[in-house]
């Protein structure tokens, strides 16, 4: 069943009343505050990382209204002032939380469906009022976790990079990832390795330049120069430059949860990762997840014998963990 959502187009055109980047058309269900926030966060001129006419960028964020915004950006010819650079054209969909959950909180999937529904054409003279969109989460086949080849980020140690990204995200920090050769894959798997309640709260962008006004927690850029370093300096943003070989000279303490994800990844337990994170429906702190990790690792013994160090866990946490582990055990 399709998810109903509002839509908008953000790009640069010249009209009788003005010119430049703005929302040129939108469906009537967008409220003024949402329009304001979309205007602030949408990519404007030169915001696509790649100068190629085939460059694509995606954007996802939770608006202050509580709804979720998905953006799909690409080039649309020359910008009308002809002062260099391509016109950045962005289709945006705004959907409620339940709707976004139906996409498993996966912005790549949502943007792909948006691209399919609204991204086929470039409208430079649209009617100002657009119809609401219907995005079908099942329009795209789901991942086949049994038969899929090993996901590859184009690095020599994907597990290392996955856990490297997970850790700051779990602790509420922002991450700028530079030079990932398969950013969409990396984004999808990074989010899949996070419980859904955490996942849907993380704003992401791929293929768009870093901008503080976009307020992005997980940003993938092709390359970043001195301006980007200058922009993130002192902002609490972790800079990760993905290279083919991990740098072992700077080992960082792993959390139990991240270490578990890394182990499962190396063991090719992709289905287990997705199943576990999909089961955790309640908000979980990094500490909760660290408690969960050894339980999951030793789930069979724990479920059978109940070998849990009760002194270390309060009753509520224990109940929650047991529920999760029990559900996880049933599924696997």
């Amino acid at each position: 069943m399709a998810v109903k959502c509002e839509q908008a187009i953000f790009t640069s055109i010249r009209t009788l009343t003005g010119e430049g980047y703005r929302i040129i058309a939108a469906s009537p269900g967008l409220n003024p505050d949402e329009r304001t926030e979309i205007t602030r966060r949408s990519p404007s001129h030169n915001s696509l990382c790649s100068p190629s006419s085939h460059a694509v960028g995606i954007l996802n964020c939770r608006l202050d209204s509580g709804r979720y915004c998905i953006g799909y950006s690409r080039c649309a010819g020359a910008e009308q002032t002809a002062r260099g650079g391509a016109r950045v054209y962005t289709n945006l969909a705004v959907l409620c939380e339940d709707g976004f959950r139906r996409f498993e909180g996966n912005p790549v999937r949502a943007a792909a469906v948006l691209a399919r529904e609204a991204g086929k054409s470039i409208m430079l003279k649209p009617q100002p009022r657009l119809d609401p969109l219907e995005l079908d989460p099942d329009a795209i086949p789901h991942m086949d976790l049994e038969h899929d080849p090993t996901p590859c980020f184009g690095t020599s140690d994907d597990a290392y990079w996955l856990t490297k990204v997970l850790r700051p995200l779990l602790y509420g920090r922002s991450v700028l990832i530079v030079g990932a050769s398969a950013p969409f894959e990396m984004l999808e798997w990074t989010l899949k390795a996070l419980p859904l309640p955490i996942r849907i709260g993380i704003s992401v962008s791929v293929g768009l330049r870093w901008a503080s006004t976009r307020d992005i927690r997980l940003c993938f850029v092709d390359h970043a120069g001195i301006e980007t370093r200058r922009a993130i300096s002192g902002q609490g943003v972790e800079w990760l430059e993905v290279k083919s070989r991990p740098d072992d000279r700077q080992p960082e303490p792993q959390t139990d949860y991240c270490a578990m994800i890394g182990r499962w990844w190396r063991d090719r337990r992709f289905r287990d990762i997705v199943t576990l994170t999909g089961l955790i429906e309640e908000p979980a702190s990094p500490n909760d997840l660290d408690h969960l990790a050894p339980l999951c690792d030793r789930q069979k013994q724990l479920v059978a014998a109940g070998h849990v160090d009760r002194d270390q866990l309060d009753a509520d946490t224990l109940a929650w963990l047991n529920r999760t582990v029990a559900a996880f055990s049933r599924r696997t």
């Binding site: 009788l16 009343t17 003005g18 010119e19 430049g20 980047y21 703005r22 304001t36 205007t39 602030r40 404007s44 001129h45 030169n46 915001s47 190629s52 006419s53 085939h54 694509v56 690409r74 080039c75 010819g77 020359a78 009308q80 002809a82 002062r83 260099g84 792909a112 469906v113 691209a115 399919r116 991204g119 086929k120 470039i122 430079l124 003279k125 329009a139 086949p141 789901h142 050769s181 969409f184 894959e185 293929g207 901008a211 503080s212 006004t213 976009r214 200058r230 922009a231 993130i232 300096s233 002192g234 902002q235 943003v237 972790e238 800079w239 430059e241 993905v242 290279k243 991990p246 700077q250």
Partner: protein, 356 residues
């Protein structure tokens, strides 16, 4: 791998929005203003004055600011100006180098962290030891329009306007002379925005000096004879607003480009070729494009066979560049500044400096 851990103690207050920032931050986390402004101001022990250059998108704010700063650097009209920090020189360098190559500088992005900021110490030599510290941001016209339409979209703009000691409002004289109401309405909105930011009673007038600059006046040289009369006749809404609400407004005409050419893409006429060689070449080009140019997104979500796994066959191919994008009602004609002939660039600034 490079990891930069950027957390540190809070001790730099942004001069534009008063947000506390960490010691190592270079841009304000709230408004993206360079924090070097604060550090420079502290070292100078002088309160800097903000002079905002505002105007519609594509009116020429960047070009005006770039040439103004360059003229100041070259000590035009007995001015002496010292840029504080290399970032202050970026806008003039960009403008001058592009214009030297007969190109207009690139369009300013809406994102405030992409804006140019200039911090200059300026004095007129005739007035010994009266240095003024000036901060001049180059804001994007679209950001100004968005902020005016919905205040607080870009808080940096409301903060800048509130803190400005003076403002230069650029208005497209060429459009106005042609009878377009757009420049008049934009300027009216801008003045109304400044009015509301000041929050004065209806019987109080705003004292902030505002220079209304008729940009691109080379299109209508009569502007230079009497800019005040031009505004009254062609930008009457703006004129009335200035009379009603502003106490300290002056009118100027300005032009930067001496002559303008217009370039269109060359239409090549292919030499006659045998059909076989044309087909062969086309096939090669298609193959090269599929191998080399396709983005990861296209490879994953295209249904044209370029995807690498069955589950990736999801979405129809991203639209290819189509002639309609470039031409469909929009200009593809590229304006080429053939040479520069500066007129009236320094005067508005000089007037504002006198008023501060």
């Amino acid at each position: 791998m490079t990891t930069i851990n950027t957390s540190s103690s809070v001790n730099t207050i942004c001069m534009i929005c008063d947000t506390p920032n960490s010691k190592s931050a270079m841009l304000c986390r709230e408004c993206s203003a360079p924090l070097s402004l604060v550090r420079e101001a502290i070292s100078q022990e002088r309160e800097p004055q903000v002079v905002s250059v505002v105007g519609e998108s594509n009116v020429g704010k960047t070009v005006y600011l770039g040439f103004l700063l360059d003229m100041l650097s070259q000590q035009a009209n007995d001015f002496e100006a010292i840029p504080k920090g290399a970032y202050s020189i970026d806008v003039q360098q960009t403008v001058i180098s592009h214009m030297a190559h007969r190109m207009f500088p690139p369009k300013t992005a809406m994102e405030p962290d992409q804006w140019y900021w200039a911090y200059y110490q300026v004095r007129k030599r005739a007035i010994a030891n009266k240095w003024i510290d000036l901060v001049m941001p180059d804001m994007a016209g679209e950001s100004l329009a968005a902020e005016m339409a919905s205040p607080k979209t870009f808080r940096v703009i409301s903060n800048l306007v509130s803190k400005s000691s003076g403002a230069v409002l650029l208005v497209d004289a060429g459009l106005a002379a042609n009878g377009s109401s757009r420049p008049d309405f934009f300027a009216l909105k801008m003045m109304s925005y400044i009015d509301s930011m000041n929050g004065l009673r209806h019987d109080q007038k705003i004292k902030t000096p505002i220079a209304i600059v008729l940009a691109k006046s080379d299109y209508c040289p009569e502007c230079f004879d009497n800019p005040r009369e031009f505004v009254r006749a062609n930008l009457n809404r703006l004129w009335n607003m200035c009379i009603s609400r502003f106490e300290n407004v002056e009118y100027f005409a300005c032009s930067v480009v001496g002559s303008l050419g217009y370039a269109t893409p060359a239409v090549s006429r292919p030499k006659p070729q045998p059909a076989a060689s044309i087909l062969k070449k086309a096939t090669q080009e298609d193959a090269e494009q599929d191998e080399g140019v396709l983005s990861e997104w296209e490879r994953r979500f295209a249904v044209n066979g370029a995807s690498k796994s069955s589950r990736s066959e999801m979405v129809e191919a991203e639209p290819r560049p189509h002639p309609e994008w470039d031409q469909g009602g929009q200009d593809l004609v590229v304006p080429v500044p053939l040479h520069t002939a500066l007129q009236g660039v320094l005067e508005p600034f000089e007037w504002i400096l006198e008023q501060i």
